[in-house]
Amino acid sequence: MTTIMDPTDERVPIARTVSPRPPEIAGTLALLDISKPRGNVLLDRLEELLAERLPAVEVNRYSKPTFTKPAPQALRQEIRESNDFVIEALAD
């Protein structure tokens, strides 16, 4: 038997469950551009399609200052407080 010291942070990740799927898309929806090249092209098109199919949904556009760093806390909070849904254009 060998005893070794744990090289990890020893934390147990918190298990989160996926939010229940809502019966319909209504209210406000956030489109988050992470600032990768052409992410805006994809989101522009998505916004057009959303306007056609779900004209009652209000769309808010957001962007991260840079794709290389996590979204600032204030931005995450704003998105959460002002929107019912979020679509994020990840990368590439």
Partner: protein, 520 residues
């Protein structure tokens, strides 16, 4: 109130467990078999046995030795097995034989160390007057021997497992049938190469490399935003194969990597496959035997190889940056195993990297760069003038990322000694070298437009809308000469230099970070 001696319970050769204190006056004698003085005194200890209310315990430091001692001296007193040395450690024994007299409560009443005939004789007069001892048969004096607990390796093991051990990390006990090396692979502790088992004694030895408190937090490591204590960094340094004197470099590197400026999260996560490249400057290079000469960027030197690896393992194990998790590199990069080297400052005519970055020449400093490629070799065995050679550097470096990628961010240029000598013929300073690279790589925008050969470059539609003078404007390879970080390394033979390509540079990506290395 007098201090109580540590209580203990040990198994004897008689198969019984003997506890101390004894509820009567007792004598505990610590010995080891290969100590001549212990062998000298054991007949005397045996003579004490059975005397008026004296309860004798002999605690031997090796199991095999105990059997030998009991037979050799026909000991009737219980001979106890302290071969794991926990009791000897608790008594903080430096020298054996050590004889301690204790009362029924376990309070020390008397003590003898080694052999001094006069002292022993007086001891007998105090505790066993009627014992018949031929004192003339004994020498005047014999020194004792070092207790086994003083052996450096054993002492580390004992400190690591004692109650006041400075170690706080979780201890994982592998099953008796487990191969510890396979176990560590299975747990995901490794970068794919074998790792050294971080046993408590190895971690404790690693911590000798720094004066910092093992529990002090050096940095918060992304992506898990986990606190990296000195101890956790030491555990990963053991895994990586480091020697304790490397630890201060690794601590400084972790601190540098986990700044918002360096942006370790983005560096490790990017699909571009960036990796920290560490350059070490200052006196520590010699002190820990880093390589800055032949094969400085390659394998074969423990310090270079394992310091770079320790940083990576800390980011992986403590921070949680693992390929397939948040680490999303398309191709990966061998530098992600390790990339660390030292600058050969003494072979350079220029101020070394750390001095350029604001430190004193006598400081030991580690600088981290986020690089996606390299070392890319620049082969120039023909240029005989400084401007030609600098031109060659420029032409080669223009390929970084893509020939048409101009006004780029950081790169590292590693100039080899023979190339240094050529640049010296033209009295080139680092600034001259940077200027020449920028000059030779400058291209008018019209040459950098995307076309049928490659879709990379200035958008043709945008270019069509630009006035002619704008298209004639030249763009150098790097947004500033300051983005070209120049260091000297390599062997005396060979007209080969090399460069590393950067990643996203500046506040939107990663900015090189230097940290002074705190020496213990």
């Amino acid at each position: 109130m007098p201090a109580l001696l540590p209580a203990f319970s040990l198994r004897g050769l008689d198969g019984r467990t003997h506890a101390f204190p004894r509820s009567t006056k007792s004598v505990v004698c610590f010995v080891k078999e290969d100590c001549p003085t212990c062998n000298l005194v054991l007949p005397l200890v045996e003579a004490l046995h059975g005397h008026a209310g004296l309860d004798i315990l002999v605690a031997g430091q090796t199991a095999e030795g105990n059997t030998i001692l009991a037979r050799r001296h026909a000991l009737s007193a219980p001979v106890l097995d302290d071969s794991d040395l926990t009791v000897s450690f608790a008594y903080d024994i430096e020298t054996v034989p050590l004889v301690i007299v204790a009362d029924a409560e376990g309070v020390e009443a008397d003590r003898l160390v080694g052999f001094d005939r006069a002292e022993w004789r007086a001891f007998f007069e105090r505790h066993a007057q009627d014992a018949a001892v031929d004192w003339d048969a004994y020498p005047d004096w014999r020194p004792g021997c070092g207790s086994l607990t003083q052996d450096p390796i054993i002492s580390e093991r004992l400190r690591a497992t004692s109650e006041n051990s400075p170690l706080r990390a979780r201890r994982i006990e592998t099953a008796p049938d487990d191969d510890v090396h396979e176990f560590m692979f299975d747990q995901g502790f490794s970068d794919g190469l074998p790792v050294v088992p971080p046993t408590p004694d190895r971690v404790l030895r690693m911590l000798e490399g720094t004066a910092r408190d093992p529990q002090s937090v050096v940095a918060t490591i992304p992506p898990n935003m986990a606190p990296a204590t000195v101890e956790k960094i030491a555990v990963n340094a053991v895994l990586a194969g480091c020697s304790p004197e490397y630890l201060p470099v690794i601590i400084a590197a972790v601190e540098a990597a986990c700044t918002d400026t360096f942006n370790a999260h983005g560096v490790m996560a990017t699909t571009m496959g960036a990796s920290p490249v560490m350059v070490v400057n200052g006196p520590i290079r010699e002190r820990i035997g880093m390589n800055m000469g032949l094969s400085a960027l390659g394998q074969g030197n423990r310090a270079n190889a394992t310091i770079g690896r320790a940083l990576r393992l800390a980011l992986r194990n403590v921070g949680g940056a693992r390929p397939g998790g948040t680490e999303r590199s398309t191709l990966g990069n061998p530098m992600k195993y390790s990339m660390c080297f030292a600058e050969w400052e003494e072979r350079s005519p220029w101020p070394p990297l750390h001095v350029e970055r604001g430190f004193d020449a006598s400081d030991s400093v580690v600088t981290l760069f986020a690089m996606t490629g390299g070392p890319s070799l620049i082969v120039d065995q023909a240029s005989r003038t400084a401007s030609q050679l600098a031109g060659s550097f420029a032409l080669s470096m223009e390929s970084a990322h893509h020939v048409r990628a101009h006004t780029m961010g950081d790169c590292i240029l590693v100039v080899s000694p023979e190339h240094v000598d050529t640049l010296r013929t033209g009295n080139y300073s680092k600034t001259d070298l940077r200027d020449r690279i920028q000059e030779v790589t400058s291209r008018p925008l019209r040459d950098l437009v995307a076309d049928a050969v490659s879709g990379v470059g200035l958008d043709p539609a945008r270019a069509a809308g630009m006035p002619a003078e704008r298209l004639d404007r030249a763009a150098p390879k790097f947004s500033s000469g300051d983005n070209i970080h120049i260091v000297v390394a390599g062997s005396e033979a060979g007209k080969f230099s090399a460069f590393f390509h950067g990643w996203a540079s500046g506040p939107r990506g990663s900015i090189p970070v230097s940290r002074k290395i705190e020496l213990p």
